[in-house]
Amino acid sequence: MKICAILRTVPDLVEEIEVIDDEIEPFAYIANERDEHAVEEAVILKERYGGSVDVIGIVDEDSEEEIEEPLAMALAKGADRAIKLTMSNKSYRRIEQAKALAEYFKDKDYDLILTGIQGIDAFTGMLGPMLSVYMELPFTGYVTSVEAEDGTVKVQKELGGGLLGEFRVKLPAILGIVSAEKPLRFVPLAKLRQVMKKAEIEEDELEIPEFEGVQVVKYYEPEKPEIVLLEGEPEEVADKLIEAFKEIGVL
């Protein structure tokens, strides 16, 4: 099976993101966790059925994001090729990306294209479905496991209300991965450093037309709610609480 996994970077939320004067301060990037699951599932499928795994790492030419380490990590885990795809005007609207990517994938003959179900930056979950539209390939999302069955794959996906469903998807296809079948495999640092040293990361570029449909007005952190501790005997506290409810008009 010829598989491709798409790997994007997103802001690292652990390193608290600060907003000053409506602008986001420079922050660190990290691999989008759902995409790491897509890579993991791709490697699992390769191990099970043979074939190859290409990992496409997407970066914006103007941003600080670094995709080399996540790509090396994918190689360390078992991917065969790592391709850094630099996009101009990488939009937070996936539609432009999707169009360009569809074009890019045209002659690549992948049996399966896996992407994380969503990125935590744009939060739309639309890359997969839009690729599906532009590439005219079947898509299904929220996938948690994949099994190959002559020319098709049987996927398990999470449905609402705690239900699970099994679907058969004709290949080639696009899948949105919510989590790989197994926990992400561990890569010791020494091994990662070794791979980074000798890894060959291929590079490619994608031109994306400027898009002005949506523009950033400002970034801001929500105001923190005011917290008042009511102290005293239970009766007293109850009285104060009633008073407070009256004040805000719920009583």
Binding site: E15, E16, G78, F186, P188, L189, R193
Partner: protein, 394 residues
């Protein structure tokens, strides 16, 4: 990219052992079983250290790795301490096997996360490195960082001391003692990374080395004369492992520092009416032979009645937190109902003590959890030795 074959595994394993001091002494194993009987998990594991050596000799390391036995180690050093052939089991046989699991890519999840977090953020909690010195804001005196200027003492709170809600209290207590004693001390602040001992013992040698390099670099920013740390694991690593990488400053465990300043402290002590028992942590006691310093400090506090548990000094039972054990709780729970920490707090409570004094930062969360599990909460309180000292000089 897993290890292809048994022989490749064996080769990797042997290579690692050859790099560890005395690692090749395993050849002298008498198969006496002292290690197995001494291990807190000996009763449940499929491969005691003795059998691990057999597995290596028979080249069936894969069976060993599948059993998970390599993760049933709290690095308490009981086996190594008692081994009649002085084989470095805790520092060699076990972490070298763990490394194979890491290379296979499948260590227990909780531990894997802690290791990945440490690699990325310099702490296992997935906390921002920027918050490492946030505890400083919670004390009412100035604390300088080494980057700002030289100091006599470099104080290392390590990850638990810097981030863990309860352990931060110990850090602050120690800082206050420094302040009261007029010690010229500084911290590395945000430059401090995880000292890394648990990474080493978890088999993540590459990460350990990277952390060592970063920390040594941070320590070179300004001169200082010695290190004091409240973290027994950091203490051991800084004292015994860092010198291999060119670090050469004296390193004191905070109980040693307190003992050294005991005469001054004595003048500041006021009476405390407690019955106190003391838990010898593996790294302060067994691994580094410090038994008297903490006892001398406790005994010097007026009003304190000091009582001993049954298993003391080199024979003290481990809290279960070391060598990554604190990240293996759910893994180990599948093998063993009662945690070592629970057995230990029962033993402490049986002495009739009000306070269980510890000298290793991991003891605090381990024992406080154990008190909850055993229903002994309220009967006995866990305090670090510097918290007890601070209480006596307040």
């Amino acid at each position: 990219m897993e290890l292809e074959s048994e022989s490749e595994m064996l080769e990797t394993y042997m290579e690692r052992l050859s790099e560890i001091q005395d690692g090749e002494k395993y050849k002298q194993c008498l198969q006496c079983g002292t290690c197995g009987g001494s291990c807190p998990y000996g009763i449940v594991t499929k491969f005691t250290p003795r059998k691990m050596i057999l597995a290596v000799r028979a080249n069936i390391i894969d069976e060993l790795l599948e059993s998970g036995a390599q993760w049933l180690c709290t690095s308490c050093y009981s086996c190594s301490f008692r081994c009649p052939s002085q084989i470095p089991l805790t520092d060699g046989i076990i972490p070298a096997a763990r490394e194979l699991s890491l290379l296979e890519g499948n260590p227990p999840e909780e531990l894997a996360r802690a290791l990945m977090n440490t690699a990325r953020y310099g702490n296992p909690f997935k906390e921002s490195p920027k918050k490492r010195d946030r505890w400083v804001k919670e004390v009412d005196f100035e604390i300088k960082t080494l980057a700002d200027g030289p100091a006599d003492v470099l104080f290392i709170p390590e990850c638990f001391g810097a981030y863990h809600r309860r352990c931060k209290e110990v850090t602050k207590a120690m800082a206050e003692i420094f302040n009261r004693l007029g010690t010229d001390f500084a911290i590395l602040g945000r430059d401090e990374k995880c000292i890394g001992d648990s990474n080493r013992l978890s088999g993540e040698f590459g990460l350990f080395e990277e952390l060592v390099e970063k920390n040594i670099k941070a320590m070179e920013k300004n001169p200082f004369s010695r290190i004091v740390t409240i973290d027994a694991h950091a203490f051991h690593s800084l004292r015994s492992e860092y010198p291999r990488f060119g670090f050469s400053k004296p390193v004191l465990h905070h109980s040693e520092f307190l003992a050294e300043n005991l005469e001054t402290l004595k003048e500041m002590f006021s009476e405390l009416e407690y019955i106190v028992t003391y838990h010898d942590s593996c790294y302060v006691g067994r691994r580094n032979g410090i038994y008297d310093a903490p006892r001398d400090v406790i005994r010097a506090i007026p009003g304190v009645e000091f009582v001993e548990m049954k298993r003391i000094k080199e024979n003290a039972l481990c809290c279960g937190g070391g060598g990554g054990g604190v990240w293996l709780d759910s893994f180990i729970k599948e093998f063993m109902k009662e945690r070592p920490a629970e057995e230990r707090v029962r033993e402490a409570a049986n002495t009739g003590a009000d306070i269980l004094v510890t000298s290793c930062i991991l003891d605090i969360p381990m024992f406080e959890d154990a008190l909850k599990m055993t229903g002994l909460e309220g009967q006995i309180v866990v305090k670090d030795i510097c918290e007890l000292v601070l209480e006596a000089i307040r």
